[in-house]
Symmetry: C2
Subunit: 248 residues, 2 copies
């Protein structure tokens, strides 16, 4: 590919610290897990408080970011979206897949508050689908009169994902969650409930009926659960160390 | 600024050809001028028809693009949005101003149709606020269940701009429009009406009451109009050559 005069170098302006430590289990769109929180810490020289003047009047923000775990990866003309069961191929531009020509991600998040302390500027946001460590390259306000198009219709994902799973917790898991909530992880039980209702299993396994155990990394622990039919049981929060995403 | 391992080179995947030939007069958000049309012509190797498979099932698309007339320009921590009369300063991240650290623009547009002819792939879109020649760097589907947030609220631009101007046409202008519509520029009168209702004057001049003449480039002509109070009169379409945006 020839170099173009319109090739540009994009630089991170900040980094997101989020509860999601690996790709497995991250919601597939923003807003699906309202209690999924992140902090966006701005880098110098973009940490000037005046650059954010007025932003707290907006309820939501667009975060443009880099798919940093895909940097240098080849793009693909077609992908298999999980929403289609992981079997059917559609064009990459008809999806928000990471296998794009330019590794740009886009998420709308709720702005909870902005924290300014000395030369540190941190945006506290929620409803995220951002991997921990994501480089943020732009922040723009969500402008409802221009961006909210409730009459738009959308291809293979016209409605939010099914949330018919029922979530229960073992006594051990309840105690571990209560301990972490008491130590400062607010709304952890709500977060886990919202996450597992989305069924993080690989799409091709979502129709299995036999019981199976899964795990994913969340904050500094592994979340473990068992799924059987439509019943999810959260079994434990264990110290992190193993990779999640596989059967446990 | 130190080089980061997350600096990435972004490459155009296509270019937008639009009715807007200069910045003056372009709507300040997408969707405000439904008849503003553009074609996005894909570059090789992104012109593979299969990369767009399924896209026609979506009514709207997010277009990520470069502010190509701002490449190399310095960012500004604060800007004066037209919506605030051009006097009050807010943080650049509380706006969609072009004076950003990374020159990334974002617009939601309506997808009218996709045209595939040999190795040419062209997306026909409308409701654009894209300057002619804009480099497009990503195309993503608008996913209503995730992106349409009608309850979001938005800072200094909570509602669409005022459209209380009344638009009339001189007989000469009517004839020139009819001739161009007959030659293939469909809905030109509707486009002009939608555009001028938004009052393209600089914000600081929007409260003037004395009559003044303005012009802007549109397609291959200069659109000329007179404004006096709330009354706009379209006076002529003349062959392009002069720059618009100034008094005529």
């Amino acid at each position: 590919m020839s170099e173009s005069r319109h090739n540009v170098t994009i630089r991170p302006i900040g980094y997101a610290r989020s509860c999601f430590k690996e790709k497995f289990g991250i919601p597939r769109q923003p807003g699906l897990v309202p209690h999924a929180r992140a902090r966006i810490k701005m880098l110098a020289p973009y940490n000037r408080p005046e650059a954010f003047r007025g932003i707290e009047d907006f309820s939501h923000l667009w975060i443009s970011f880099l798919f940093h775990q895909h940097l240098g990866a080849a793009w693909r003309a077609t992908v298999r979206p999980p929403r289609l069961g992981g079997n059917e191929r559609v064009g990459v531009f008809a999806t928000r897949s990471t296998y794009r020509p330019n590794p740009l991600g886009l998420s709308v998040v709720q702005l909870d508050r902005i924290e300014i302390a000395g030369d540190a500027v941190t945006l506290h946001v929620s409803g995220v689908d951002l991997l921990d460590g994501t480089p943020v390259v732009d922040i723009k306000p969500y402008v409802p009169y221009a961006d909210a198009l409730p009459d738009a219709h959308g291809g293979f994902a016209p409605t939010p994902p099914d949330r018919t799973l029922s979530i229960t917790f073992t006594e051990a898991a309840e105690q571990q969650i209560a301990a972490r909530e008491a130590a400062g992880l607010a709304d952890l039980r709500a977060l886990i409930t919202e996450l597992l209702r989305l069924d993080p299993r690989p799409a091709y396994r979502g129709h299995e009926t036999q019981a199976a155990d899964f795990g994913m990394r969340l904050y500094d622990f592994d979340l473990r659960w068992r799924i059987e039919g439509k019943e999810v049981t959260v079994t434990a929060l264990v110290n992190s160390g193993t990779r999640g995403g596989s059967e446990k």
